[in-house]
Symmetry: C2
Subunit: 409 residues, 2 copies
Amino acid sequence: MFERGTVMVNAAILGFGTVGSGVAEVLRENAEGIARAVGGGIKVKYILDLRDFPESPFGDLVIHDFDLILCDPEVTLVVETIGGARAAYDYTKRCLAAGKSVVTSNKELVAAHGQELLELAGEKGVSYLFEASVGGGIPIIRPMLSSLAGNRIDEVFGILNGTTNFILTGMIEKGRSFEDMLSEAQNLGYAELDPSADVEGYDAARKICILAGLAFGKGVRPEDVSTRGIGGVTLRDVQYAGEFGFRIKLLGRAYALPEGRAAVYVGPHLIPERSPIAGVDGVMNAIVVHGNAVGECMFYGPGAGKLPTASAVVADMMDAVRDAAAPRNAHWEAAGDGYLVDARDIDTGWYIRTSESLSALRAALGVGKIRALREHSGELAILTENFTQRELSAALGDLNIGSMFMVLG
Amino acid sequence: MFERGTVMVNAAILGFGTVGSGVAEVLRENAEGIARAVGGGIKVKYILDLRDFPESPFGDLVIHDFDLILCDPEVTLVVETIGGARAAYDYTKRCLAAGKSVVTSNKELVAAHGQELLELAGEKGVSYLFEASVGGGIPIIRPMLSSLAGNRIDEVFGILNGTTNFILTGMIEKGRSFEDMLSEAQNLGYAELDPSADVEGYDAARKICILAGLAFGKGVRPEDVSTRGIGGVTLRDVQYAGEFGFRIKLLGRAYALPEGRAAVYVGPHLIPERSPIAGVDGVMNAIVVHGNAVGECMFYGPGAGKLPTASAVVADMMDAVRDAAAPRNAHWEAAGDGYLVDARDIDTGWYIRTSESLSALRAALGVGKIRALREHSGELAILTENFTQRELSAALGDLNIGSMFMVLG
């Protein structure tokens, strides 16, 4: 626990959904420890929502008029848990411009407008913090900015989406189909009725953009990131991967390249079974960071959920209070043209599943380019030596390919 | 990266051994990023050592007179990488008393005198930081104090010693003996010629005391912690554990109990193969933290080594600079009598290996108390239901027991 003088901070929560209500609960449940750590306490003065919550113990804090918060000089700290990049964007800008610190779990907003909002916070001398936007409750943003700050970070990658990891884990562990696991995820509330943001990798793309901004100091837009989801991963792929000693995981990945460039992308990868991240199952997330001094670190924990996400939001609120005199904001610049390497030029080993013959594959790829091989009932799975996707596509020509995924390490 | 005004801080390094020289290297190698992040830069003005280092690029910074550092008002930041609790303790107290911030990798000193040194730092308004004292390069201290600060932490445990984990991993993976792996660890420089601090668990005990202080706010002395090393772990135990679906790891563990008490101890544990910490191999370390909001998080990475440890020291130096106006020190109080539960009263499942017969074990432990059972050439290995060690010892009486270890989870 930190020691500090006494302060009492009035906060407002924008959006009383899952995360917003979790924040109110954690602030109440752990009030004593929080007060001791920040030296006074954090009081929720308003909760902004379109709805009323007469049954909630926080129901009488609920208001519907944002201007009450904006114009109340007592409110110096605002939690934005609305989500999306419309109202959340507008409210965040107006709060920061009014000199209020803002804490958020909104990865969509941070990925789309983080640079601008961080600059505005810097101008106004307030905090804009977003620990909860990546990895839910896992401490990752602050450790990258603080505990690993003495490193030049070369690479960051991770299992950034719990829904897709839940689906893949069920396919791997129980041999259940993608469709079956998706509907279970929907029944359990892990996946939306429209699951495309998770399943097609867009959620992971937003998160890897935020991590890339932190790691390399350059903003990357999700729409510029090559993004492939798990829709193409079949049970047969999962089984072949297992036979090769790998597990299939959806990774967001960013690594530094010579001349100040970087590769940033999202896609299914085969990961060696013995690497620590291969054992990250179900809705858990994990982020691996490689720095030039520390080597490889991994941060593991619940990537979503009401209380874990609220844990990260509340930690940011506490940091905003403790750093009020000298806010510690992240900072990234716009990446210039040519900063991102085309994903088709990433040099990597590949997993390929095909109904073509081994001799056809050998002829296409060249002698000695197949590292490992499995065959079942006329179908072939191979692991290749390194190729870029461009080279591989050219070499395979119009051969009939079932699946093709990158291999990590 | 954080934005800040320009500062130039003069630092001194006490002790130019492995970690001290790593700190100088990381500060030089990553000078640009560090300067950008702290807004100015950190310059090493002196290196204190008894020896001279004419071949080192930092050789002309080496001095032999501590008073030069103590009396130089330009030096506001001191790195203590001497180790031990004698000269390091004396120098640290005098630097803090003189109003200089101190950063250390010295777990022995922090475990023995952390409370006093933190209080002194608090009185003088400077930082006393020790990220590198637990888990080497792994960010754990600052995340516990910052990113997880909104939680009530219930439990922290981990693989805190790389040498013993290297030895156990070789026994598990390669079937090599304890003695064989120990001499390999010594040849590789992982273990000291006198390996007792590692092998007998004292190093892990110091680290779990530090983690317990952070987690629960009460200081625990290593000499009060039940500490058992890996000397009693045999190849047969490792094999039986594998057959039961477990791996044997040396854990330091601290968990909160009702009425404000806690259990803190070190010993070999059987860990379920599928838990993330079971896959932490070789010299890597990992720390699991359980908080009431976040649930379970794990921090994984290199637990020792020159540059990883230096990475953590340099991060602390940067935090000391950035927080100079309002230092963020940890804080723990002396634990009263009766705070620690006697390790013999911890209720847990057990692994037992014995040459006694199954009927003798059944008679001793009671019907239905044996969860799993393996038998090879007249030897028996069992997993039990929960017992305290006291209950178990009473029940087993003078039966002949080969090994007896706790089972996690």
